[in-house]
């Protein structure tokens, strides 16, 4: 199977997934309720409500509403938000930079802290530091994100007043593009970014520590590592050339998916820190039965996961020659 066929097949799978997601979400929200009943002026009389429902096409049977949506979607129109009155896709893309920025910084923090600590703990499992790292990573898993977030705010914003308690701060546009207005380009933005990124990163860092520690301990016992040592290679070279790359395979797989989660569903951190990202948009949309936004959002999230999955599989091939060989 050639490389291109592999990618095309994966993309076709992806399209099937998207179709299934759209149908499921559409039907689920239809069952939950009618947004007009939730949003209309409480004093509106039944005739007013019927008129509004008809204007929005919500009086049609579900299958017809879905086919209409599908027809529009194929032309690139995912509908208008009920509550914002603007195109749903635009609302999502408007929030994307904030979320992406937070997720990337959190992931980098997690890797920067997690890989060295995990390696240390894997290479010297019996040392005091190794044990401490293991214990700390357990703690990182166990602390609920909202609690940790509030603690960070209390200590660094309320008590010490070093950092702001929330919000996004000043942004600057990268290459002059409004779609790329980032906080990490300004000092004020960094101050706002640090706590939420730390909050998101902690769990991921704990995860990386665990994966790297377990992976490196396993790899250390392998024949090729013993051979490498027998050949007289330095310990540093053994770790850098043989242990680390082999350890990273599970890390890439897991983090690829985790990154998707960071982008699509970091609702708790966004809520605690008032970070205007996509997760909050989704929650608000679900609460208001704002179907166009929910459907568009979950379609984007599903597409993201499909692409990440593909990216992860391609990355494997690069990290692990055996995968590359079997695919060729």
């Amino acid at each position: 199977m050639g490389h291109a066929t592999f990618v095309v097949r994966r993309l076709l799978h992806g399209a099937g997934v998207l179709l299934a997601v759209s149908l499921l979400v559409f039907a689920a929200l239809y069952v939950v309720g009618n947004p007009v009943e939730l949003l209309v002026d409480p004093q509106a009389d039944p005739a007013d409500i019927a008129r509004t429902v008809a204007a929005l096409g919500l009086d049609q049977p579900l299958w017809r509403q879905y086919l209409h949506f599908l027809g529009q979607a194929l032309q690139g129109d995912l509908g208008r938000s009920f509550i914002h009155g603007e195109p749903a896709l635009g609302l999502i893309l408007e929030r994307l930079p904030a979320t992406l920025e937070l997720a990337v910084i959190a992931l980098l923090l997690a890797l920067l802290a997690g890989i060295p600590l995990g390696l240390w703990a894997g290479l010297k499992p019996r040392s005091l530091a190794g044990r401490l790292i293991g214990a700390a990573s357990t703690l990182g898993f166990a602390l609920p994100a909202f609690w940790l977030g509030l603690m960070l705010i209390l200590v660094f914003a309320v008590q010490l007043q070093w950092l702001p308690p929330g919000g996004r701060g000043a942004t600057r546009e990268l290459f002059g593009l409004p779609a790329l207005s980032l906080s990490c380009l300004t000092w004020d933005g960094w101050q706002h970014l640090l706590l939420p990124a730390l909050n998101l990163a902690l769990y991921k860092a704990a995860l990386v520590v665990r994966l790297v520690r377990a992976g490196s301990r396993e790899v250390l016992g392998r024949d090729y590592v013993r051979f490498a040592r027998a050949k007289g290679l330095s310990e540093a070279r053994v770790v850098a050339r043989h242990v680390l790359p082999n350890t990273l395979i599970p890390v890439v797989t897991v983090l690829g998916m985790e990154f998707g989660g960071l982008i699509a569903f970091s609702v708790v951190t966004e809520t605690v820190f008032g970070w205007p990202g996509m997760g909050k948009l989704l929650m608000d949309a679900i609460n208001a039965l704002d179907r166009p936004v929910v459907v568009a959002y979950l379609l984007c999230a599903a597409a993201l996961f499909v692409l990440l999955n593909l990216g992860v599989e391609l990355l494997y091939g690069w990290l692990d020659p055996r995968v590359r060989e079997s695919r060729a």
């Binding site: 002026d41 938000s81 007043q161 205007p276 609460n287 039965l289």
Partner: protein
């Protein structure tokens, strides 16, 4: 003008899940640690004025979605012909005066010398345009058309005089017009909702101009120096969107904002003792009550003690309803369950609102009498009942229901509680899926509230849109009709009060409490607490 309590779910606290997590567990932890925070240094002064709002604004188009958070923010940029003061009374806004010149014609005199943000003068054409625009926004799920539909004709008399005709005599027209913002025809004639959000079409006469709308995060505004009335004390103001309780409080404690609305109940006592902050509190227009199924013979959530359906619906019996009402210790409910953020209610509108009456008889707390009434009604052993309610809508809504369940169980009505997220709740409520259910209502006039909540449901008149229990009383209907048709305020209020007294004697719903709204401010500030719970930056003053 029930400014939609029900219409801001998307913004209300948060999703059920997160609100639970943050609202309860986290708040508990948070509060224990706030004690530490109290010893923190004095918050840095956030220049110039920054306010933490408890709900998100979905659009700056003042005619798009009739939801309280949107109206609250729009009020900074736009004004209405008739304004509402902090006590809910109608006062002159962009109209200097108004009067009914005959039973179906109202004449409004425009205030001279009012300027829009772009410097152009306010004209009667802008007013006519603004009254017509809501009907053109057909894609809104919560349109403002309910406030303009009574108007059957508009006549421009001169540059400052407008006559509005209604098909029938209609007293509440000025109140309806307190909900329609006046926009600039020039700026908004071809504008879309996006144009308002970008600021292009956002040209009003209000005390502030838009600087920047950062959706989901903040609204930045600057003082409009050409404003016709008292100018705000602040040159620039930021409204920050902080829907979750604990982060909103943290923003105040850290000095990031100068003021917050919707102070979480558990923090009120603590903030009261903290010299760095001041609280402003008052009884709000939001009244909570239990609606009851009065029309089915077999109500879906009422059974006998063995769980079998009853042959008749006990809620149809006035004695049973009186027993339910007397079983409730409203003082305890307000003081303990609600942490003092409620006052006992016996009417469907708040004290001071037309239709409430001066001092209506309080609902007595009398569990022994309640048991006797139940026995007289033929239920000496009680029955089983399930109460339904939302779990993320009103102050402590779930706890309120649990408290009621205990009160009812004490008189022998074994009561369970089931709560749902708002998105699912309102639809089912309006389809009469329940036997007894919690609803909150905010209204500036008793006749409006009664028409929608207790008027005989009728497709033609449009009455009783939320009267799913199908209470119906010809005398109450007649009094509501008289109130609505009275263009004389005194007569209207008297009729509304009569209707309210008539209706409440029969307890078609069980009134519970009026909510108390709370703002917290930096000690150097003051705010006239508003009955409608809105937060207006122009009214925040340094002390």
């Amino acid at each position: 003008m029930a400014r939609p309590l029900m219409a801001l779910p998307f913004a209300s606290r948060l999703s059920a899940v997160v609100a639970r997590a943050l609202g309860k567990a986290a708040c508990a932890v948070f509060l224990t640690v706030v004690t530490l925070a109290v010893m923190a240094p004095t918050p840095a002064r956030a220049a110039p004025l920054s306010i933490g709002l408890a709900a998100d604004v979905s659009s700056l188009d003042p005619h798009y979605l009739n939801a309280a958070p949107n109206i609250g923010v729009a009020s900074h940029f736009f004004e209405t012909l008739v304004a509402v003061d902090k006590d809910g009374q109608l006062v002159p806004g962009l109209a200097q005066s108004w009067q009914a010149i005959n039973p179906t014609t109202w004449e409004f005199k425009l205030r001279p010398g009012v300027k829009f943000h772009d410097g152009s003068p306010l004209t009667v054409e802008d007013v006519v345009f603004s009254l017509e625009r809501p009907a053109s926004l057909t894609q809104s799920p919560g349109p403002f058309t309910g406030f303009t539909k009574a108007i059957s004709a508009k006549k421009v008399v001169d540059a400052h005089t407008l006559r509005l005709t209604t098909a029938q005599p209609y007293g509440p027209l000025p109140l309806d017009l307190a909900s329609i913002f006046i926009v600039s025809k020039k700026a908004a004639a071809k504008a879309t909702t996006e144009d308002f959000n970008s600021g292009k079409a956002l040209v009003g006469t209000g005390p502030f101009r838009l600087v920047k709308f950062r959706r989901g995060e903040a609204v930045e505004m600057a003082r409009f120096d050409g404003y016709w009335s008292d100018k705000p004390a602040w040159e620039s103001v930021t409204l920050r969107i902080l829907p979750a309780d604990a982060p909103r409080l943290a923003a105040l404690l850290a000095g990031q904002v100068d003021m917050i609305e919707g102070v979480p109940g558990a923090d009120v006592a603590r903030l009261k003792k903290d010299a760095r902050f001041r609280l402003e509190q008052r009884v709000s227009w939001r009244t909570l009550f239990l609606q009851l199924d009065l029309f089915r013979d077999a109500s879906p959530f009422v059974t006998d003690n063995a769980g079998r359906p009853l042959d008749k619906n006990p809620l149809k019996d006035l004695k049973v309803r009186q027993a339910l009402s007397r079983a409730i210790n409203r003082e305890a409910l307000a003081a303990r369950t609600l942490d003092g953020l409620g006052v006992p209610a016996s009417r469907l509108v708040a004290p001071g609102i037309p239709g409430h009456g001066e001092k209506p008889a309080a609902e007595p707390y009398d569990p022994e009498g309640a048991k006797r009434l139940l026995a007289e009604a033929g239920y000496p052993e009680g029955f089983r009942l399930t109460l339904h309610g939302p779990n993320n809508r009103y102050l402590y809504d779930e706890q309120v229901l649990q408290t009621l369940a205990q009160f009812f169980s004490r008189i022998g009505i074994k009561t369970q509680v089931e709560t749902l997220p708002l998105a699912a709740y309102f639809g089912r409520l309006r389809h009469a899926d329940f036997s007894a259910a919690l609803l909150g209502w905010g209204s500036l006039s008793g006749d409006f509230a009664l028409r929608t909540l207790l008027g005989t449901p009728d497709e033609k008149t449009g009455w009783g849109a939320w009267n799913w229990g199908r209470f119906s009383d010809a005398r109450v209907d007649a009094d509501i009709r008289e109130a609505l048709a009275s263009t004389d305020a005194g007569r209207r209020n008297r009729a509304a009060e009569t209707a309210m007294n008539q209706a409440m004697q029969q307890l078609p719903v069980i009134p519970l409490h009026h909510q108390v709204a709370t703002w917290a401010l930096r000690a150097g500030l003051s705010y006239p607490a508003r009955v409608d719970e809105f937060t207006f930056a122009a009214q925040v003053r340094p002390r």
